[in-house]
């Protein structure tokens, strides 16, 4: 899995400069956020559902070894072939082999974050196999060589005029309108033929039912179902944490997911398939169980709750940071608050040390998370790991210095006194407008309230403690 190539502050600075992006994001996230709030409010048992979702996921993670073997057994019994992949390369190799075995130089794909995580498209392309994205937004990004900036709405950073121009250049030279219906029709015409001719389909899975071996994909467009039903061969790649114990458990998640994700009571397409059914759908099913760092995440008692995630993206839409910077600033297929705790754990904190700091710790993410991942708590945990792994000496020294000052009351009083003297040349009309680095990071955009002339903790009678 690819990690960020630059630190979050650097990437965020660049993205913040894009006014179009800021306004697209602001509009889109606030719209979805309001929709979600409306449909969540109408469920009287929402909190109980969240508790149930969290409890089921905790059970799955605690007994993953058992559930995975049960899942494999059920799948094999239903006529599927199960592959175990330690990492992305092993998973991609399975897809490539299946495609080659069937002489396919193109596979049609359901929108899938897991396949993005393992960079399936690029790996297949290097072997002469084209992986065609069939989700409308993913298709847009693929045609333009762009990449997703939102878990659910990958092209959230693009507007429809940009999309019309892109389609003119690529799949629909005659298109003139940027009406959503016209754009969708152009994509439909382009995709339909590919669906009918595809030999191999590739999907991820939102859920895998351990008891029955059933795979489940939820989507809005129906293109996913085209991929899972039309081609004679299907390869489904599923992260090992995506299991639920029984079919009945889906009841909880199929309520939590669409309401949290698109703000719908129910998503338009819920596809469930169990192995191979003669004469109906794919006659060859391969299921790849992907680890790719997940067992390492599982080892961390605090961090493992990140594996509860059902990829709804509610945390992105409420995040004050994500809704300003967009997803690209996170440099990973998993952006936003969940990305800030998942990416560093999957690829190692030393490869994404700035991500846990990409948060004001406002807690809005935890409040909306349908499976109750305490994201702020995990962020603090990972911040400590980041400091221990790659913390800078200057910051370390500054923090120790401040800790020393706070260690005794007289030191704080002394620091307040020294600060008062030092700030004198900078105070104008009762505020500080400019300070030298590193404090200029504050005063570049904000005034600073000066240190007051006297302090309440010093106004009490009595002697200093030390």
């Amino acid at each position: 899995m690819k990690g960020p190539t630059e630190s979050f502050p650097v990437a965020a600075n660049r993205e913040l400069g894009n006014a179009q992006l800021r306004s697209n994001l602001g509009n889109a996230t606030s719209t979805i956020r309001a929709k979600r709030a409306r449909v969540v409010e109408e469920l009287p048992d929402w909190e109980a559902l969240r508790d149930a979702g969290s409890a089921i996921k905790a059970d799955v993670l605690a007994n993953l070894d058992t559930y995975l073997l049960q899942f494999e057994q059920a799948l094999t019994a239903a006529g599927a072939t199960v592959h175990w992949a330690r990492d992305g390369a092993e998973a991609c190799a399975v897809v490539a082999e299946v495609a080659r075995a069937h002489g396919a130089d193109e596979v049609v794909k359901v929108k899938s974050l897991t396949t993005d995580e393992i960079e399936l498209n690029a790996t297949l392309a290097a072997q002469g196999i084209h992986a065609l994205e069939t989700d409308f937004a993913e298709l847009i990004l693929q045609l333009d060589g762009d990449w997703s900036s939102h878990i659910l709405v990958p092209a959230i950073h693009r507007n429809r005029t940009e999309i019309r121009d892109l389609f003119q250049r690529t799949i629909a030279p005659d298109i003139t309108s940027d009406e959503p219906g016209v754009l969708a029709e152009a994509a439909r015409v382009y995709l339909r033929e590919r669906f009918l001719n595809a030999k191999v389909g590739v999907s991820g899975a939102n859920f895998g039912v351990a008891e029955t071996g059933t795979l489940c994909v939820v989507e809005s467009e129906g293109n996913g179902r085209m991929c899972t039903t039309l081609p004679p061969v299907l390869v489904s790649i599923i992260g090992i944490e995506k299991l639920v114990p029984s079919f009945a458990d889906l009841e909880v998640f199929l309520q939590l997911l669409p309401r949290s994700s698109t703000g719908e009571r129910m998503n338009p397409y819920t596809s469930l398939w169990t192995g191979v059914t003669e004469g109906d759908g794919p006659q060859e099913l391969h299921v790849v169980l992907l680890d790719n760092g997940r067992t390492r995440v599982l080892e961390d008692e605090v961090g493992r709750q990140a594996l509860h995630c059902i990829r709804c993206s509610a945390c992105l839409n409420v995040c004050p940071v994500y809704s300003r910077t967009g997803g690209h600033a996170y440099g990973s297929v998993y952006p936003g608050p969940i990305g800030a705790i998942l990416t560093p754990q999957l690829i190692g904190i030393e490869n994404a040390p700035s991500l846990p700091f990409a948060s004001s710790l406002c807690g809005a993410c935890y409040e909306v998370c349908p499976v109750k991942i305490d994201i702020p708590r995990v962020l603090l945990h990972l911040r400590e790991k980041s400091v221990d792994a790659v913390g800078g000496r200057t910051e370390r020294a500054a923090m120790s210095g401040v800790g020393w000052v706070f260690g005794r009351a007289w030191r704080l009083r002394l620091a307040q006194r020294i600060g008062r003297v030092l700030q004198r040349p900078f105070v104008r009309d009762g505020v500080i407008r400019r300070l030298p680095p590193p404090l200029s990071a504050w005063t570049d955009s904000r005034d600073l309230r000066p240190i007051a002339p006297a302090h309440p903790s010093d106004e009490n009678s009595g002697n200093d403690d030390e």
């Binding site: 846990p356 406002c362 800790g403 407008r433 590193p438 955009s445 904000r446 309230r449 006297a454 106004e459």
Partner: protein, 232 residues
């Protein structure tokens, strides 16, 4: 009650009037208020920045300083949240005093059952519910109940009130551009209300909001809620 007043490092240093106002509100209600000289900082900055081990002595110091009081009142919801939630969770502190630390408005409304302090503040005011007061300390509508009973105060609703102000402690420096982008929207919301004053429970957030309003030449000022509640 004999109350300890934890002034917090931020308010003690930059918002001393908020601390003094907190003391006078409580004293008017007949309580004995002590501001211990030994107090410094709860350790929130170190805890939130990944320096848990450096926070430990500060937390121990807080407990030693305040353990003898019946209750501790503090003009900052995020410091209260740190003490109540993070001390037991992250620092293994098992001392009953952590459960007896309250933010001023929740102490007045939930512990004392007081909503009308006889305050008067003839200004147009908007209230920003800080993130930690909403989601960690969970003060509910206590601040609004208190503000609604202030004579002459015209309370105007803040659009997108529950959105963060962008402060976030060291986040405001490490991710200064993002912090400022979030702040810009908050300032715009405040200006749209036509309020003269934006109030909140946390000095840290008021530092951010006040800095943004002042830099933007906006009409509104940032004022700590204690100062409003102590006004006559």
């Amino acid at each position: 009650m004999k109350l300890g007043l934890f002034s917090t490092c931020v308010a003690d240093t930059m918002f001393p009037d908020a601390v003094r106002a907190t003391a006078s509100v409580l004293e008017r209600l007949g309580h004995e208020v002590v501001v211990p000289r030994e107090q410094t900082c709860c350790g929130q900055m170190h805890l939130n920045a990944g320096y848990r081990r450096d926070a430990q002595p500060l937390a121990d110091r807080f407990v030693a300083t305040f353990a003898g009081f019946e209750a501790v009142v503090c003009p900052s919801s995020s410091c209260v949240g740190t003490i109540r939630e993070l001390y037991p969770q992250l620092l293994g502190i098992d001392n009953q005093i952590t459960e007896r630390v309250f933010e001023l408005s929740e102490f007045l409304v939930d512990q004392l059952g007081v909503e009308d302090l006889g305050a008067a503040y003839p200004h147009r005011v908007t209230y920003h519910p800080t993130c930690h007061s909403l989601r960690v300390t969970k003060v509910g509508d206590a601040p609004l109940r208190l503000l609604r009973n202030v004579r002459g105060l015209e309370l105007v609703e803040l659009p997108d009130a529950t959105e963060c102000c962008g402060f976030g402690g060291t986040f405001s420096l490490k991710n200064a551009a993002t912090s400022s982008a979030i702040l810009a929207d908050k300032c715009q919301s405040i200006e749209s209300t036509g309020a003269e004053v934006c109030t909140a429970l946390d000095g840290s957030c008021l530092l951010q909001i006040g800095g943004g309003l002042s830099r933007g030449g906006d009409r509104a000022r940032a004022v700590h809620i204690a100062e409003i509640l102590a006004s006559r």
